[in-house]
Symmetry: C2
Subunit: 247 residues, 2 copies
């Protein structure tokens, strides 16, 4: 049985203020929770699971985690869940500590003011698909520990290092590396083929890349358009660009 106080505590973690205060976040669903446990990046604090789920998964869980396992009923999970359809398990993890990201010899994504949690989560998942190890977020990007971000990464959060920083300052420090700006006009993305070291900047969903960041980019690249849509979704654009680097 979940106490009232603990129920309220988990609910509070739906909000950034309380996640920041305690330096923790929640993750839900079998795949996401197990992927985060296995990653070893985030220290697990608590697992609340339906009885049958815990029974089935305890052996795998115990390889990674020795802490408390709490059995919950469906109605209790519903109360604490951030999902519209709660999914068997919710876990509380400690956030990871930010490490400095070395851009040398790598493809790195830099996100300028990505505001939609679904977009950020999807971009992290895309990065994981293409083997991108690091994402640099401007400080005003949406919080990577927002439950909607965590869910839409589908477990990739444990395999891609996401760091928040002053983006212009970070780009300036890495000005020896080519910085490509995803834009509505520029060189065809097919020219990225075979590139092995680059920073790819993706801008805000409606405003694109800010002036300050654009000034620091080496080159504008674009996804050729043959139809009439004004723009592409930011996550879709990130996926398309990364898919052309490896080709």
């Amino acid at each position: 049985m979940l106490s009232k106080a603990y129920t309220k505590y988990i609910q509070s973690l739906h909000h950034k203020k309380f996640r920041d205060a305690d330096n923790v976040f929640i993750a839900e669903g079998s795949k996401v929770v197990m992927d985060l446990l296995r990653s070893g990046i985030f220290s697990c604090q608590q697992i609340l699971g339906m009885q049958h789920w815990l029974q089935e998964n305890e052996p795998a869980i115990r390889k990674q985690y020795a802490g408390p396992l709490q059995v919950v009923e469906g109605f209790e999970l519903e109360k604490v869940s951030a999902l519209s359809t709660p999914n068997q398990v919710l876990a509380v993890f400690k956030k990871s500590t930010t490490t400095s990201i070395q851009a040398k010899g790598k493809i790195i994504l830099a996100l300028d003011t990505i505001q939609d949690p679904g977009n950020l989560g999807t971009i992290i998942r895309i990065a994981d698909w293409f083997g991108i190890q690091a994402i640099i977020c401007s400080e005003n990007c949406t919080d990577m520990y927002n439950p909607k971000v965590v869910q839409s990464t589908m477990g990739s959060l444990g395999r891609v290092a996401v760091t928040y920083t002053n983006l212009p300052a970070w780009l300036q420090k890495n000005s020896n590396i080519k910085i490509y700006a995803a834009a509505l006009a520029g060189k065809n993305i097919s020219q990225l083929k075979g590139v092995t070291e680059a920073i790819i900047v993706i801008g805000n969903e409606s405003k694109g890349i800010s002036y300050e960041v654009m000034e620091l980019c080496t080159e504008k690249i674009t996804i050729p358009k043959t139809g009439e849509a004004e723009s592409l979704n930011a996550a879709v654009a990130a996926g398309i660009i990364l898919s052309h680097i490896g080709q």
Copy 2:
């Protein structure tokens, strides 16, 4: 002033059952409403707008539409809106009548059981970007007139013909055309380069392409993976595949 009855009517259109009964749907926000008006595909029935918005846009509206314009207050728009942040205008449009789609000489997207409205809307927007004129949806795809679909198309709904049909039967009728299945294993998508006639099948978000549809596909294609994510979002995959055809 909106009457109680009309407020309830618009709210009822958030649900498929009532949209189907009246053969209409709602669209919101300046860009989406104006793009749908300009497309000429959907006959507009009613426009509810904030006073300043109507004043500013009346000349452009009147080029396309001679029907009623109703001034609404913010709190009224909030009541009828399907958006979390209502956006100045809501319009009621008649659905378009389905026409049969000719696949000969074109690139066509076929969607097998796409369930998430955001994904369907984003795929319609992507199709519009790449100049794809038609999307065939299996009958159990989410409704293209769901307000979330309409919003996430960002106005592209008027520029891409979306049709619901028995997908296996339709594919069988078009078996003289190459049918590519987006899959987790198959030929590299780079082989699509320069293709000018094809049907590209995108499967369900979690289950992929159904057995019955897969049987009818000529070839499996895949987006090469160098990382560890299990899958890509369906809309992202559609975007990546289409971007490689034109390259």
